[in-house]
Every structure is written in C-alpha cells, then in structure tokens.
C-alpha cells in the first residue's frame, strides 16, 4: 500500500481538479506542466543536473505535433508518439554534448543550446512559423473503425484525455525512478567521483536520464500545442525552460509527485495573481525567494513536515524545519493550500 502512495496521490489530484476548478484548460495545463516538471526533476532531483534546456524539448514536442497534424495529417496518437520521440532525440543530441562538462559549464552549455534552439526556431519560418508560430492545430477526436470514442472538443473532454496520458506517464516514470537505473542515478547525484570509481559509466547514465527527460518533456509540449491549438515560439523560448525549472524547485526535488504540486502551485498562483496585478511575476519572485531561503525541500518537504507534525512524530529535524516554516508561512503557506 505504502508503495502506491504516490500513484494514489496523483490519482487524487487528477480526480479532484474537475471538482474544484472551473477551467478545464487550466486543469489540463497543470497536468501538462506537471509532466514537464517531472522530466526536469529526473535530471535535477535524481541525477543532480541543472538543465536550462528543457524548453528545447518542450518546443520540439509542440512543433512536431503541429507539423504532423497540419501538414502531413497523421493519426493524432501517432503524432503524440512522434513528438515524444523527437523530444527524446533532441535530448540525446543536446545531452551528448552537455554531459561532457560539470557544474557551471554544464549549466552554461544547456543555456547555450536553449538560446540556439530559440533562434533556429525563430529563423526557420518555413517549418516553425517563426514569430507567429504554427496555428490552427486541430484537436481530432479519438476514433476507432470510423466511430468516435472520445471527442476532445470541450476543455474537460480534453482534460480527460490528458489525465489518462498523465497517469500512464506518471506510472512509467515512477517505475523508472524505482528501477535499478533510477537508484543508480541517486548515486550519481550524491557523488560522481565514487560512482565512477565503483564501476559506473557516468556519461551513459546521464545520457539515458536526458533521453527519458526529453521524451516526457516533448510529450508535454505536444499536449500543450493540442490544448492551445497553436505551437507558439514562446514554447521554445528560454522562459519555458525557466518556468519548468521553477515549478520543479517549488514542488521539491527528488520526488516525482512533488513536481505535480509545483506545477499546480505555480499555475494556480499565476492565474490568481495575474487577476490582481499585471506585474504578478514580481510576486512570484518573492515566493521563489522564500522557498530558496526557508523551504529548500519545496512544497513536498513542507507537506512532509506538516504530516509528521499531525502524527506527532516530532524529531529534531522536523522541529527545526517547523521553526523555519513559521517564518516562511506568511508569503507561501496560505496559497499553498490552493494547490
């Protein structure tokens, strides 16, 4: 039972969002960026790689889906698979280069690739539509033998579709994180030097992590393009990379479900703040500062601390964490419950 906790938590989120939220698009977006943040978490939280290049794979997914559905009308499921493969392929190419460096230079390399990809997308107007992006992406229904099984016209219908894909991807990623591979990634995260000394090929491990991360991010990008009906240049922009990274950190690293929390928190907060003040990103900055200073384990860490408090299992570590929380509570605690 305990092993399935995360899967159940994810299912609870998927099932309760339609009950609590008005906008099916916003709910879909939470799951879509949740996927992207999980891909980022696999690199950051499990492997210890800070990648600013996630927007490349997100953008690749968006463009691939847009092109396959508009220019070479392929069946929609096939277009999604192709977008996933393109995300993986992009990550394999980027990963192959960037894993040659560590630390600062690794981060700089991912940044350089993100910038390059943006300008390529901007310049290659024939393929990407440049500044305008690709528009009028259809959202075909799911059909079998000429009969419509699942129309995706309304936002909530589309949400159901995204939710099914999300749960499948979540289950798969959970399996990867618990596999021999996932457990070895933690060793790489903790101590690269030792991991190499006991026989592991760091480059191969990191490359595989990149490919899986790119695949799920590409899938997220494709779903995003389907949702909005456009594949805009902004999906390939540096800002998308940054947003995915911020969601991952807010949720908490090293835990896949935390990424869903991060995505939900970010998007719901943004949705709410943007109605209050056009300069809402500034307020988001404050939240990020609070998390960096007092809540480095993210929302998941906060949840764990509160949970142990409820169960009376107070340890010295949680006591310390709670002390810090009291300070941090004002800017982030109250809003966190919305997620």
């Amino acid at each position: 039972m305990k092993r399935q906790t995360h899967l159940i938590l994810a299912l609870v989120v998927v099932l309760t969002m339609p009950l609590l939220m008005h906008s099916g698009s916003l709910a879909s977006e939470v799951l879509i960026y949740g996927l992207a943040a999980m891909g980022c978490n696999l690199l950051l939280g499990f492997t210890g790689l800070l990648s600013f290049g996630q927007g490349i794979f997100f953008g690749l997914g968006s463009y691939t889906l847009a092109l396959t559905l508009t220019r070479w009308p392929l069946p929609m499921p096939l277009a999604l698979i192709l977008a996933t493969v393109m995300g993986a392929l992009g990550a394999a190419i980027v990963g192959w280069v960037v894993i040659r460096q560590k630390g600062t230079y690794f981060v700089m390399l991912t940044l350089a690739f993100a910038q390059m990809f943006y300008f390529i997308a901007y310049t290659a107007t024939g393929l990407t539509g440049g500044d305008n992006g690709l528009m009028d992406i259809p959202r075909p229904s799911i059909t079998a033998l000429g009969r419509t099984l699942w129309p995706l016209t309304s936002p909530w219908q589309f949400y159901g579709f995204v939710a099914a894909i999300f749960m499948a991807a979540f289950w798969l990623l959970l399996k990867v994180s618990r596999s021999t591979f996932g457990r070895t990634l933690l060793a790489v995260r903790d101590n690269e030097e030792r991991a190499a000394a006991i026989g592991y090929n760091l480059k191969l491990l990191k490359l595989q992590a990149f490919v899986i991360s790119g695949a799920v991010t590409g899938l997220a990008g494709a779903l995003h393009a389907m949702m909005t009906g456009i594949a805009p240049l902004s999906n390939a922009e540096y800002h998308t990379s940054e947003m995915i990274l911020v969601m991952t950190v807010i949720g908490g690293t090293g835990n896949l479900f935390a990424s869903v929390l991060g995505s939900a928190f970010y998007l719901l907060l943004a949705d709410w703040l943007s109605t209050l003040w056009p300069r809402w990103l500034l307020l988001l900055g404050l939240v990020l500062i609070a998390i960096s200073l007092w809540m480095q384990r993210g929302l998941w860490g906060l949840g764990e601390t509160l949970w142990s408090l409820v169960r009376g299992k107070r340890t010295r570590a949680t006591d310390k964490a709670i002390e810090k929380l009291v300070v941090a509570a004002s800017p982030s605690g109250g809003n966190g419950e919305q997620a």
Binding site: K175, V176, R178, S179, T180, F181, G182, R183, T184, L186, A187, D190, N191, E193, R194, A195, A196, A197, I198, G199, Y200, N201, L202, L204, L205, Q208, I212
Partner: protein, 256 residues
C-alpha cells in the same frame, strides 16, 4: 612469498606540464599480499595510485593487471577487471543508506544492470549476499538502514573500505585508509586490512609508518617520483638509503 604477480607497472611516468610527478616507476605486486607504498608528501604515492586505479592517465609506461594490459582502460571499466579502490578523503553516497551504498558498489561489477529502467533491484539483482557479508565484515549490520552521512567518522572510514570490498575485487587499492582515525579504530583497521589478503591483494598507500610495518608483506618506498627502495618491512626499516631519506620522526616511529 612466491605467489604469482597480479599487478605489474612498468616505467610509469606522469608529467604535469614540465614537472615529472612520476619519473619511471616499476612495481610488481604479488597476489594475496599486502603491498604498501610509502613516502613523504610529494613523493608521488597518490599519483601512482591514480595511475594504477585508472583515475588519471599515464604519460608513459604500461600497467598489466591479471594478464591484461589495462593501461588505457578508464577507471570505471577497471572495476570489472577486479580493481577496486577506497578514497583518502571519505567519499560515500551520503544521503543513501549503508546497505544501498554497498549494493551500488556490488552492482558496479555488472554496470549494464544499472541501465535497467524497468526492474527494481530485487532478488538476484539486489546483490543481497555480497552486501550482507560485507556488512558483517565491517560490523555495520545494525547500521544498514542508516544514511551513510549519519555514521561516525570511524564507521565511515570502514564503509569506505567496504565499498571497495563489495565489488569482490582481486585487488583492493587503499589510499590512507586510517587517515583521521582515532587510536581505538586504528588497531581494528589494521587487523581488518591484514585479514583482507586471504581473499584479495591489497595495495596500500600510507603515510603512517607504524601501520605499514606491522601489516605489510612488501614495502615500496618512494621519493621524488621514483622508487627508492623495496623489500620486507624489517629490511626497509634498516635500509640505509631509507634511513637517510627519512632520518627523523617517520622511520623511528614518531607520529607521522
């Protein structure tokens, strides 16, 4: 001692720019012995150690291990040949449990398993027997579930050696395994290292003469990137060149 030669280094040189850290070192290590390499700071002990374990590449020379030329094989692949090492500065997976540390080390001899994205490390994939036997040998059974970062310094030093042991290597390379240890832990570590040679070959880099003299079968003394002398511990102790080189506290057994 006339066991076969397990490791042979021939004319190992290492340059950093124009500086020769190693100026042509020959070394023969016999199987199932404790072979110590000693020398003052800057003698090239650790550089030699890095050459032998493959952490860094040689500028010239050859390394033959167990009948294979391993000179150009990177460190992570030398593990599969039967070479394992411990670090001078404790280097563990601090957030992972003691058991998981050892499991990862045991799994390292079949690293393709690490690419398995589907199966959890259970059953035959868990290396449970190796992990259990190393835990028992280290006396850390009751700490198996504790994160390595929460162990005491002495326990971490023991786990550090255990990480090498878990790969069930032919040869274990230990880089100052007693560094920073208290007197009580020191004796334990000495008898522990001594016991390793029943199943393994031990190459020991040490600064502390006392430890080396008690537990070594062969001692190689290095100075300024070259081998100064080699022999049985008592021969080394009475060797005039060594005495001349180390006259003073090290050879007489003062605290090094």
């Amino acid at each position: 001692m006339s066991t076969p030669i397990l490791l042979e280094a021939i004319g190992i040189k290492k340059y950093y720019g124009k500086f020769a850290a190693l100026g042509g070192v020959d070394l023969k290590v016999r199987a199932n012995t404790v072979h110590s390499v000693i020398g003052p700071n800057g003698a090239g002990k650790t550089t030699l150690f890095h050459m032998l374990t493959g952490t860094k590449t040689v500028s010239a020379g050859r390394i033959v291990f167990d009948g294979h030329d391993v000179t150009h094989i990177p460190d992570h692949r030398r593990v599969q040949r039967g070479i394992a090492r411990s670090f001078q500065v404790t280097s563990l997976f601090l957030s992972l449990s003691v058991r998981e540390n050892l499991r990862l080390a045991a799994q390292g001899i079949a690293p393709t398993r690490a690419m398995n994205c589907w199966h959890e490390p259970e059953g035959p994939r868990s290396c449970a027997e190796t992990v259990a036997s190393v835990l028992a040998r280290l006396g850390l059974e009751s700490f198996a579930s504790v994160p390595a970062g929460n162990l005491s310094h002495g326990q971490q030093r023991r786990l550090e050696v255990g990480m090498a042991l878990a790969a069930r290597p032919k040869a274990i390379f230990l880089d100052e395994p007693t560094s920073g240890m208290g007197i009580d832990d020191l004796e334990d570590m000495k008898s522990f290292i001594r016991s390793l040679r029943d199943e393994h070959t031990v190459v020991l880099i040490e600064h502390n003469m006392n430890i080396v003299m008690d537990i070594s079968d062969t001692v190689t003394v290095m100075q300024q990137g070259r081998v100064l002398a080699e022999g049985l511990p008592h021969e080394i102790r009475s060797d005039n060149r060594v005495r001349a080189a180390y006259l003073g506290n090290m050879i007489t057994g003062g605290k090094a």
